[in-house]
Amino acid sequence: MNRLSTYLLVALAAILLLLPLWANSGLVFLTGTTIIVAVFALSWNLLFGYAGLASFGSGGLFSIGAYTMAVMLRQGYEGQFLLLIVLATLAGGVVAFAIGFVALRRSTGIFLAILTLALAELLRITLAKIHWLGAEDGIPSIVRPTFSIGFATVDLSRGNSYYWFVCIACALLVGLTWWIAHGRFGRTLRTIRLDVERAAFMGVDTHRYRLVAFTISGAIAACAGALFAPWAQIVTPDIGNMMRSTQPILFTLLGGASSFWGPLIGAFLFSAIEFSTRTLVGIQEIITGGILLAVVLMFPTGVAGAWNALIAGLSARPEPAKAAPALQPVKE
């Protein structure tokens, strides 16, 4: 990452941290939601951009995390909040592992995408039928917990403290994801996306790597869901619906799948669009659709791709622009 981008990132982080001090509480709430779904999108891209697997059912894992957290808080375990986050994360990881174990050996690509979509829908329908989980209306009035960490008591129920908690937790998750993506494991994963057969001929057990990536991605998605439950203070089966599952895809592609930061950029961009057009009721779809189209047509490598190209263009000597070839050249 170049210096300018680093400065921007730091500046953005600072703005996010200081936001509650000056912004409208609706904007703060939206930003908190965006931070959480941005991490959720990041977990999806760990699978897509690094292991080359596209899941259309990530909303299901998000909702597993959210429901686990909601149920445990309702049962009165708020004192063990940190443990609950770990538990919800594990729950997502276990479910993802089970799905991956059965599905990954047999299907990848679009089939995996549709399979995960079907599983997520099944989960949603099932949740909507369980009275104990509030059926369609879900679990409301989730408390923002107060818990003790040995030497101090953390009270997240007051004011904006849960916002900052979300900021810190998500920063840790982003760091973790960055580390996974950029370390040896991430490097090997990338070879699997780029050429799975070649990777196998380096002795890489590609199936196992994919399974591990699927599990980690699912765990992070569930963790994001777990953070979301006390944030929204209500979970409903729709928390894992198809729109939720398309969210990370949209964010990632909008921001740029080839960049680690792409999903985050996409998430914030999308939220900014939604917030700035919130009063234009009745034509929301056309506005959102139109802006998406414009972005896709203008920056076909995502915003991060366009940004990197811009930086490269500024730092390198100018080169004559060249049109893309009319038809795919097959061999040079």
Partner: protein
């Protein structure tokens, strides 16, 4: 018949051809030889406008065809047989050849498929087989037959001997020579196999890193060992 001057071609950011001039007279037989990556394939694709971004002047029978899309060039009678043959796997050999009827130059009727099959003895036993069930040598034959079927005025062959067993290469030389004579088609051949190129062409161009470094007849080429050494490293 074909005049190309100051052709520059690009793939993305890389500049492949640097001001190449080329002309093929009616009934001419021209070979472009050079090592891999010299830009031979790019030259053929540039003439067809099928891939690289090209600037420069290309004219066909005195009229500029710059900007003309590939399929229109094909309909003018330029037929490229690509290096990797590109036989349609889902169609039979016969249907593959039939497909070429779409490229017939206006005013010239396509050759009936049966005539083509009759003319290529190798194709007769496999005419009804699927394009995916024939060997590499047979595929090359089908690719050439397919190009011939639309009575091209200029046949552009890209490395037809690539990957073929030596015995097949000899047959191929004979077939190509006979076909071009019978159809009164000019020929532009890109090859690394000098033996093969020598069998079927009379003018030779040597290409190196996107530039033409030699042009002349085969005897002239033979008298120029330095060229062979420097650009072909034979």
């Amino acid at each position: 018949m074909l005049e190309a001057s100051r052709i520059n071609a690009f793939y993305g950011g890389s500049h492949i051809l640097h001001g190449v001039d080329l002309s093929v007279p009616a009934l001419g037989r021209v070979a472009v030889i050079g090592r891999n990556g010299a830009g031979k394939s790019t030259l053929l694709k540039s003439i067809m406008n099928a891939g690289p971004t090209v600037n420069g002047e290309v004219s066909w029978e005195g009229r500029s065809i710059a900007g003309l899309p590939t399929f229109k060039r094909a309909r003018l009678g330029l037929q490229l047989v690509p290096e990797d043959r590109r036989i349609y796997q889902h169609l039979t050999v016969r249907e593959n050849i039939q497909m070429a009827a779409y490229a017939t130059t206006p005013g010239r009727r396509p050759i009936p498929v049966q005539d083509i099959v009759d003319r290529f003895p190798m194709l007769q036993p496999i005419a009804e087989r699927g394009g995916g069930q024939i060997s590499g040598g047979q595929q090359q034959m089908v690719a050439i037959a397919r190009a011939i079927a639309c009575r091209p005025r200029l046949l552009l062959l890209d490395e037809p001997t690539e990957g073929l067993a030596p015995a097949i290469v000899e047959q191929l030389a004979v077939s190509v020579r006979e076909l071009c004579d019978a159809e009164e088609a000019a020929l532009l051949l890109c090859e690394q196999n000098i033996w093969f190129a020598r069998q079927i062409t009379d003018t030779v161009l040597v290409m190196d890193t996107g530039r033409i470094t030699f042009r002349g007849s085969w005897p002239e080429f033979d008298n120029n060992p330095e060229i062979k050494q420097r650009h072909l490293a034979v």
